[in-house]
Assembly symmetry: C2
Homo-oligomer: 227 residues x 2
DNA sequence: CACTTTTTTGTCCAAACTGGAGAAAACGAG
DNA sequence: CTCGTTTTCTCCAGTTTGGACAAAAAAGTG
């Protein structure tokens, strides 16, 4: 009897219908887009419903209220991103640390292009202190940071990444890729950069790697991991 | 240089009063802050007036309407920034190209810290295509880009900056400094970076320079500029 | 199939907020 | 003191806001 139907996970007395899932998905995608463009305050639930091509009371039905919808949207986008990142890590687990990180950066650049909202949403919320930002940090950002931090420190020890605060390094890489692609609308007109071209994406990844991972791997790096 | 009558459209038959100037300034500062936090659509003129501690019809009086106020606010912030940048260039015109660019980056980092709105406003407008973005690019971004582009190309020729698309390089530097500081609210909690500490600012500048201008100046660089 | 739950539709609301207008008062430069 | 400049106060007409709710439609289940 609890009204805590956060999204789709309390009492499945009966199976959730397919059209319901579709509606939720459409709403989530639309919400991500709208929130990333206009921020939480600047986005109306009606705008979201319209983008999703759905009647707006469905938001109340599926997500309770605007705040819950925002959270669900954030989970939605980070879930997809985390999956993509984990996949990259899995595929390259046998590579050397530099190559592994390089491919992770490439994967990030590609993802940021297909889903610039990932970065935009964070920027929108970070533009002034608010409870959603805290939630976002604890729930999504910190885990991501923690997972990458160790890799960067290792690369510094190996002389691949430049010395300096690894936290700064991490965020600069993040901004040079995600932040850059989030500016897509601007870059073409201001600097002649076309982020829609695959060659540009490759050039971005390449440059980031060259700049942030300039060193070569030492030849004997396997020693430390070997049994 | 034509003095832009950004504010009052009619020439003053009598001198502008001091309190009027103060009001305009307060409104501009408040507008910059509000627009940078919530974007154009998400900001109301009443919100701006309230932040400025001023009655809201004064916006109509001084700036005609919301759109004009936004433009005046953009001019306001870019004017201050351009002044700060020109000052850095002037002070270091006798330095070698690398040092000149390094100090410019430092100046930018410092400015971005004291006025993170500079970057935020651009991000807000770039989040979806709109006429203000076009205006911003033509009026402020492109001139800035053009002024810096040549310096970067020269540094690449000298082997100081890494090869690759200079436009990408420019924007990565911009994001690693301005974009990073615009995330100030987030960085402390997510990565333990305190952008309020002067040491952090120095570390940021230093890292950017080390990473984006890794090469040393050749000893004979004076040849080409000497008459 | 009948039945019951899930999902969608259509309508409504009360309140807040929107950008802006305009008269009149207050102020200050000359 | 005079008169243009600036501010205050009040008003408005329209839109938008997030959300409530009953009833209809659709679909899973036995």
């Amino acid at each position: 009897m609890s009204e805590e139907t956060v999204v789709p996970s309390v009492p499945p007395a009966r199976k959730q219908q397919q059209r319901s899932i579709v509606t939720q998905q459409k709403l989530l995608d639309a919400a991500v887009e709208a929130f990333s463009e206009n921020g939480f305050k600047g986005t109306s639930t009606r705008d979201i419903a319209e983008r999703a091509g759905v009647h707006h009371p469905l938001i109340t039905y599926h997500f309770k209220n605007k705040d819950q919808l925002w959270r669900a949207a954030a989970n939605h986008i980070f879930k997809a991103f985390t999956r993509s990142l984990a996949q990259s890590l899995e595929q390259n687990k046998d590579m050397c640390p530099k190559e592994r990180m390089a491919r992770m950066i490439s994967a990030y650049v590609k993802y940021a292009r297909s889903q610039p909202a990932l970065h935009k949403v964070m920027v929108q919320e970070a533009s002034y202190p608010n409870p959603r930002l805290d939630w976002l940090i604890e729930r999504h950002l910190k885990p991501l940071f923690d997972a990458t931090f160790g890799m960067l420190v290792e690369l510094q020890k190996l002389g691949v990444a430049p010395p300096g605060d690894p936290a700064l390094l991490f965020n600069m890489i993040r901004l040079s890729s995600g932040g850059l692609l989030a500016l897509g609308n601007e870059l073409k007109a201001s600097s002649g950069i076309d982020v829609d071209s695959p060659e540009t994406l490759d050039a971005i990844s390449e440059l980031i790697i060259k700049v942030f991972l300039p060193g070569e791997m030492p030849e004997n790096w396997k020693q430390q991991t070997a049994a």
